[in-house]
Symmetry: C2
Subunit: 324 residues, 2 copies
């Protein structure tokens, strides 16, 4: 702890794009130390320039590989690209997939690219908070494009992908029915659909099926119609088209009220998630210290969950009143 | 609504094991109507006799098929078995997997078996609440064994599987690395490990790998060592052994303080989840009505998420004080 650099001192280095400082600040955001919060609040107010792209899809849909290819493509167009991966199966999450990790190495050697994986475990909503704080940090550090990659399983994961300016949902051919079933409800959040693995012979079927499903759905008042882009990370086909579709969506948002509406939706989500975190943090702390008696009487069926929970909340509220 | 039967009137029919009344009450628990809460509280106090078995595993691990075979086996031993499936990929969830659904039909014709699927979507924690209320309902309706099946992705899903007397984690050979990576953190919750699809030639490897991983782990003070049971739903091998392992775990819990500790852990989880629901319900309602201004100023970066969220909570707390 003798070498501890206060987060406030890291800030100027982050603003100058210092990768080591960026990495440290993101780690502190993940750990959610009280010390870092003021700095993150400052950063939030400075942020807002980057185009944030959310990419989600069921496990096995080839998201991570596609993100790698898309990142290379955006680099060729001169963008500075940061990736925040909240995906336990991500090849750059320090997981077991050595082959993919090696493949990502070409990107990690490029100073115009920063890739960061974040744990998807932890308290409800904590992941969303930390991920969006990481996006702010990368935004003020000068990355003009920030990609959030989440596995499309779990409500929070889908919400995070939605909390971006352009949301991409990745579909893939050849996944089992069990996996495909997880996809329900995922498609509707897409601004752009990417079908991966289109070098496979069964990919045409996936593209056709997807287009048919989308034709059945009724789009909201939104004038934008989500395009379906067939891609192959293997051959490289469709990656440019995907980048173009993202750019078209960005341009469609830019001059209109749609961007303001999108920003307010993201802010609303973030406000609610932060408030949820604060409340649940307080509740969990209180429960750990004061709920043993209530748990025991609930286990003995002397009370019921609602009565017990209401007592817990009442006691918490009272304690707040006495020690403001 | 003219035919609405109050939940309190459904209760005696539920206690008598009337399937139609059970199904209606579970639907009401899912919908979380105020009217049903008092009855659910009454039911909670009456419940506590059933042995609750949690079964979890990553998508594609063959949980649902195994649950079907296990249910048949427990029936042959004279048990009355209810299954609560919280699994978007479950064959009995009204999903697309016709073959499996047909296969389950033999069970659904047996009055000693009740199978119910529940939506895994919805508000945070709401799924846990409704699932555990369904368990209570089935318990007081006379099912001596209640199986909760959840997909092992997402924190709530894993917690629900843990909120049972015996937790089974299903592993399978031949799943991709992306899927396997989701398994991290899942293994440690197991009282019994089931390896499915052991008719496959690569299953031995899965069993060996699993045993090696478990040998590396240090068990808590708990004297129980989770056995690894190789099963095949296809050949039927190992299903009896799995039922025996579950029974051995039940007997190991029965005379000891372990059962009391387990029951208190479950009660603690339930207390916290219920309190979380109550708080978040209040917060979300309040946010929907009063947060538009805060969201707009957050979107404009005039404030930051913490300041905004704290203001939201303060206003909510104040409003509580004025209208108790």
């Amino acid at each position: 702890m003798t070498n501890f650099v206060p987060s406030a001192q890291l800030l100027p280095r982050v603003l100058a794009g210092d990768i080591a400082a960026i990495a440290r600040l993101i780690s502190r955001a993940e750990a959610d130390t009280p010390e870092v919060r003021t700095v993150l609040c400052d950063i939030y107010r400075r942020a807002g320039r980057a185009h944030v792209i959310g990419i989600t899809g069921v496990p096995g849909s080839g998201k991570s590989t596609l993100v790698g290819k898309l990142t290379s493509c955006l680099r060729r167009h001169g963008r500075r690209v940061a990736v925040v991966a909240i995906d336990p199966s991500s090849p750059y999450s320090g997981g077991a997939i050595l082959g993919d990790r090696v493949r990502m190495t070409e990107l990690t050697l490029d100073p115009g690219v920063y890739i960061r994986s974040m744990a998807s475990r932890g308290a409800t909503g904590g992941m969303a908070r930390a991920a969006l704080e990481a996006v702010d940090i990368l935004d003020v550090a000068g990355f003009d494009t920030v990609i959030i990659e989440t596995v499309g399983v779990g409500q929070d994961e889908v919400e995070i992908a939605k909390a971006s300016h352009t949301t991409i949902v990745v579909s893939a051919p050849g996944l089992g029915d069990e996996i495909q079933a997880l996809k329900a409800g995922l498609l509707e959040v897409a601004d752009v659909h990417a079908v991966s693995k289109c070098d496979r012979s069964d990919a045409n079927r996936t593209v056709t099926d997807l287009k048919q499903m989308l034709a059945l759905g009724v789009r909201a008042a939104d004038a934008w119609i989500a395009p379906v882009v067939a891609t192959s990370a293997y051959s490289g086909d469709g990656i440019d088209a995907l980048a173009s579709a993202i750019d078209a969506h960005r341009r469609a948002l830019a001059p209109s009220e749609a961007l303001a509406a999108r920003r307010e939706r993201i802010a609303g989500f973030r406000l609610l998630k932060t408030a949820e975190n604060l409340l649940l943090e307080e509740l969990r702390g209180w429960t750990a210290r004061h709920a043993a008696g209530l748990s025991a009487s609930l286990a003995a069926r002397e009370t019921d969950p609602y009565t017990g929970a209401q007592q817990l909340i009442d006691r918490l509220t009272e304690s707040r009143g006495t020690s403001p």
